[in-house]
């Protein structure tokens, strides 16, 4: 069903983003990725752009290239994100700015440019990344959770604004997954978090992929504005 779909994924140099690239390239999609770091190794059906998702000029250039090369975009997966665990009283504004820029502004920018491209064919699937830190109201993650709460609001409102264009917008809210994103979080904090899940284990990339597969299925054309949190949160 996804064969030959043009799929853009942000934050693909490592972690979940890389797993998503391998998954969709393996399904014969034409996958395009971006991240600040290079993509190590080569993969058939994959093209990489090195950019910051909050850099409007670089992002617009990437979309112009996609339009020129592929002529369309079917799926956008807004995976790029940064986290910083710290008490709010100890959080510098540079950290706040970086998190908001990457997690919220970057997500908005890619959604906007993707929808412009998708609008031409009146078809598109957009999946954003939330987090269980929002419903769990995790101490120490005020800014990260706030940036993702903004992504949830964005998802739900864009779902309404883009519905007329045949574009669905949904979000997946992963639990902690053993990637670089949580590398700096003390293990005891993560264990406490996992204890609050209905299913008490770390997430795996396959858990996230399962939800995204559902959201981007062409048959999921009546599913929009939804947020699925993993682990029973």
């Amino acid at each position: 069903m996804l064969e030959n779909k043009v799929v853009l994924i942000s934050g693909t140099s490592r972690g979940i983003g890389r797993a998503l690239v391998e998954h969709y390239a393996g399904k014969e999609c034409q996958v395009i990725g971006c991240s600040r770091s290079p993509f190590e190794g080569e993969l058939r059906n994959y093209r990489h752009y090195r950019l910051d998702v909050a850099d409007e000029s670089a992002v617009k250039d990437m979309f112009a290239q996609i339009r020129k090369n592929e002529g369309r975009l079917d799926v956008l997966i807004n995976n790029a994100g940064v986290a910083s665990m710290n008490h709010s009283l100890l959080t510098p504004m540079t950290t706040v700015s970086k998190i908001i820029q990457t997690n919220f502004m970057g997500t908005f920018l890619l959604c906007r440019e993707a929808a412009r491209l998708m609008q031409a064919r009146r078809y598109g699937r957009i999946v954003n990344f939330a987090t269980v830190a929002v419903p769990l109201k995790l101490e120490g993650e005020a800014i990260y959770a706030a940036s993702k709460a903004a992504v949830i609001s964005l998802t739900q409102i864009l779902a309404r604004e883009f519905a007329e264009f045949g574009i669905t917008v949904n979000a997946v809210g992963p639990t902690p997954i053993k990637t670089d994103l949580i590398r700096g979080v003390p293990p005891e904090k993560l264990e406490l978090l996992i204890a609050r899940q209905a299913i008490k284990r770390y997430g795996e990339p396959r858990d996230v992929i399962q939800v995204i597969d559902f959201f981007i299925d062409p048959a999921s054309d009546f599913v929009t504005g939804q947020v699925i949190f993993l682990g029973g949160v």
Binding site: R116, Q119, A120
Partner: protein
């Protein structure tokens, strides 16, 4: 060439695309006087958004220039450049000229 003919041609292609998704009683006519804003316009705000995005796409195809029509400049002008197809064409012409001379 950034001529009035080319500007209208670009906009009319976008109008054709928009009309493809509009009911018969809300079709936009391809004349410079066609109203895009206000009570005399047949398009609602969402159709206008669709039109502007389609015009941006056609400009990119025809002139190889990536424009953002609904920018802060457009929103701060005394008279909206999106009033009619004529005013939209004039505005598109100015933006293309500026981009070509940048």
């Amino acid at each position: 060439m950034n001529t009035p003919e080319a500007q209208f041609s670009t906009i009319y292609r976008a109008v054709d695309w928009i009309n493809g998704g509009l009911p018969a009683d809300r079709q936009l006519t391809k004349t410079p006087e066609t109203r895009l804003l206000g009570p005399q316009s047949v398009v609602d705000s969402l159709a206008l958004v669709n039109l502007l995005i389609a015009v941006e796409r056609e400009v990119e195809d025809m002139f190889g220039i990536s424009l953002t029509l609904a920018n802060e400049r457009a929103l701060s002008m005394n008279e909206s450049p999106f009033r009619t197809i004529q005013s939209l064409a004039d505005y598109v012409g100015v933006l293309i000229s500026e981009a070509q001379n940048a």
